[in-house]
Assembly symmetry: C2
Homo-oligomer: 527 residues x 2
């Protein structure tokens, strides 16, 4: 293997050539044969279809050359091998290791980190089994039937989206063990409304903060404990109703306030932590450890798929490179994520964090400003709902927005009805097929209001069923896409220094430091 | 009043001048005095603050001249007077009339349309009172305690966002009359999961479709009726558990399948229908007719505010013009809506439809292509949640995204706790003030990863409490902003031809029409 070296996108030979390639017409490219051949296995039973992207074989070849020149696979292997690829924070990047060891063991100070992750997963599984078998009960003797996760950002969006994604599947497959609720916002209305809907005697709280210092989460912990103390029955011991997920070095880790404590480490970024104890605790409690294990297996399968060197055989790399082409050559600024599955209602919100927090950067991994666009704006809602909302702009607006469709052959809950000659699931997927086609081909009409220019590119991820394996692969697909794009842009996708300044200023205000008049003036407006 | 005439933005003298104005530094402009003076009454107890916008007095003057040249107030008055401003569909645009008559009565074929809207509101109020007083009960004799709205797009997003926005307020103010749930997606999992959580005997369904032909909504009606028939007790009569909101000309309007029917008309667009019977039925049932009335009063107050000719005294016009400046002069492509209130969790999703479906157009009102950018991409999540998600890109990404903050002095549910010297509400608002400041001023740091360039513009809408009046004004503020922007761009903000092609193609597929091979091929992938 050649030496790994890092350079900015605009210093690569392939990018210069790519800029010179002719921009083809999607309408002319697309046909039934292309639809059946432009498809890649994405793991977990998913396939990635890129037939509705406006790229010729020549452009794909050139994107493959760029991927080679930027040494994507070698750098991915560096990540898997435990190199300190989070350069800004001088940390390893090991979320892939939480779902399986791919190359070799990763050790730090003599400790096998994969073993550490597996051990935590096993501890969580035992704990969840104990709760489900009622060996572990609430302090007043009642079994736990509800779990409430207190966390924000990566400790909320991913786990919440995944819980919602599997809730229906679990119900019809006999895997519903506990209801899960989430408290995230420091707005007191959030904790007040969630706690009003639960019974403290039968509720287990999960406090999730890697650092153990997150303002919102610690505030909500105190808030919830106060409410339990005030409203719970005599004899209820709050510490017997709360577990923690944190790092071993955090102030929470040795606290007597918790029934138990499960660990992550600094090599897992918040937005990448759904496959660690951060997602593991709540998902194992809600659905059972075997469901979480199947979810990890799907993610691991996608991670292995991402090792393929040929761009035409690597779904997340292809997705990443097409996104780079659209962002840097075609100049598109945002991407819509459009799952045709109500169960994925909050999945776009998770991807919004994953992508925008990872690649919304202006300096390269050495801290030098980059001269090209990096991460786009990500947004989305489930179809068909979105069709009756923002699709107008997607079809006829003045900017082109690339689209990422997701669809499944079967509905999740299985119950369906033939109405007017088709089931609801058939109607759902007919709409999905219709949208891809309409965006690509458009339509001429004498009425200019009904003119559709088409030429609007999309991709489609398809699965048989939205089950734990497919969900794991779906998550990992996007994580790996974001990783590859960050490597192309030569940025560090694994820190988030951009969130710090606001935190510092909020602390100043609350600490009574009046040294910034503008800050004071805004706060005064709100008091 | 001079004659009203319509011209494209790039044909105005003011736009040409605007392009030549110097682009100021926000860091240099902003100070405590500006923060206290750049503020406009927005109705309903709200104020709009634009101190963190990168505009000089000269630019605002020029934006005011552009507003004059495009005759915004005259055209708004044309709308209020019932001119057929929805040119594409040859319809009037009368959503403002649903909350109050501002200039004069609007008649069509001899009928006073305002009177018609008031009559429907009164009929809904009487019906809701009948349900609440248990004079109207379910067919098995039990009182109704739950309402389920079946609708999609404008019949879903607005009413749902507004219900969630007032749920907490209603609880603490003794106005919670019924729980509300929503079914929108044609995905069978949506209707299956909602119906699994309700008791058919005590549930009242509201079927909402203006045309009475919306595929998703009619499918879900049949779906729900089937489930009720299968799972409800003997003796339950489904038609006694469903009301309709539709137009008088729709196939639903005279159906015996409904307990009662309330009407809208073609002069109300779906995304503007929250203040009509579409929002009125569900909100009056959930919270009582007086709450809906107060909500309308707040919206009407904002509509009256929007008549002010001076841009510096007209909040929605200022908001609109600053958006045009950022879109067409500075070239920004998207806008984030960031409410610091958990109750507004789905309000950004409603604004996404409102804005993108209204102004995502490429032809002017005469059907000629425009040569400038129109509506931006709209996205958002509540703060502080968003801070731990996509704010990284907003602070340090390569594109600038203008921000619309919304904040309230008080929390909605009132329950709060002092933790470490501040309440949760103070922490929430300290974060809001900190973010505006951080985006505007940025921060120099020797570590380039921690460098914040600042110069990222935002506006702030502030209210005392998120109550019905404030919510009404908030909704109308954005509706009027979108209207003014559409008038500046000389487009028709009131049709949505861009959603038609997909519907037509989906019907072709379901009808077995195999004439488009690409369409067939995509559908086959999903079967």
């Amino acid at each position: 293997m050649s030496e790994v070296n890092y350079k900015n996108l605009d210093k690569t030979a392939a990018y210069t050539k790519l800029k010179k390639t002719a921009k083809p017409s999607l309408k002319k490219l697309i046909n039934a044969k292309r639809i059946s051949t432009c498809t890649i296995n994405a793991g977990g039973g998913l396939t990635y279809n890129y037939s509705a992207k406006a790229v010729t074989d020549e452009i794909i070849d050139q994107l493959g050359i760029l991927a080679l020149e930027q040494q994507l696979i070698q750098k991915y292997m560096s990540i898997l091998s435990g190199e300190r690829m989070n350069t800004g924070e001088d940390r390893m990047v090991l979320h892939q290791l939480t779902r399986g060891q791919t190359i070799s063991a990763v050790t730090e100070k003599g400790r096998d980190i994969g073993e550490f992750y597996r051990e935590q997963q096993k501890r969580i599984a035992n704990f969840a089994d104990g709760v489900h078998s009622e060996q572990i009960k609430g302090s007043t003797g009642k079994p736990f039937d509800t779990v409430v996760q207190i966390g924000i950002g990566g400790s909320d969006l991913g786990p919440r989206a995944l819980y919602l994604a599997l809730e229906g599947w679990a119900e019809v497959n006999g895997k519903s063990k506990m209801d899960a609720l989430f408290i995230s916002n420091v707005d007191p209305d959030d904790a007040t409304s969630v706690t009003a809907s639960i019974d403290p005697e039968t509720t287990l709280f999960i406090l999730v903060s890697k650092s153990g210092t997150t303002q919102e989460t610690l505030t909500n912990q105190a808030f919830v404990l106060d409410i339990i103390n005030k409203t719970g029955p005599k004899g209820l011991i709050p510490s017997k109703h709360m577990i923690a997920v944190t790092s071993q070095t955090s102030p929470l880790s040795s606290s007597a306030e918790f029934l138990d404590c499960f660990y992550i480490d600094d090599n897992i970024g918040g937005r990448y932590s759904s496959t660690s104890a951060v997602g593991g605790a709540v998902l194992s409690l809600a659905f059972g450890p075997d469901v979480f294990k199947a979810f990890l297996a799907g993610a691991h399968e996608a991670d292995v798929c991402a090792l393929e060197a040929d761009i035409r055989g690597n779904a997340s790399m292809m997705d990443a490179m097409l996104g780079v082409y659209e962002r840097n050559i075609l100049g598109y600024r945002s991407t819509a994520v459009l799952p045709y599955s109500q169960a994925l209602s909050r999945f776009p919100a998770h991807l919004q964090q994953l992508d925008m927090e990872s690649n919304g950067k202006s300096v390269n991994r050495e801290g030098e400003p980059v001269e090209y666009s990096t991460g786009p704006v990500i947004f989305g809602e489930p179809g068909t709902n979105g069709q009756h909302s923002f699709y107008q702009l997607l079809h006829q607006g003045t900017d082109i927005v690339p689209l990422q469709f997701i669809g499944f052959k079967n509905s999740q809950r299985g119950y369906d009805l033939d109405i007017d000659g088709s089931t609801s699931q058939q109607k759902l997927n007919a709409n999905l097929a219709a949208q891809i086609t309409a965006f690509a081909l458009g339509q001429n009409d004498e009425n200019p209001n009904r003119q559709f220019s088409g030429e609007r590119p999309s991709s489609l991820i398809i699965g048989q069923d939205l089950n734990p394996e497919a969900l794991g692969a779906l998550l990992a697909h996007f994580e790996n896409k974001v990783m590859f794009q960050g490597l192309i842009w030569n940025i560090n996708s694994f820190d988030q220094e951009g969130v710090q300044l606001g935190k510092v200023l909020a602390k100043k205000l609350l600490g009574g430091d009046g040294s910034i008049p503008v800050l004071e003036a805004y706060f005064n407006l709100l008091n």
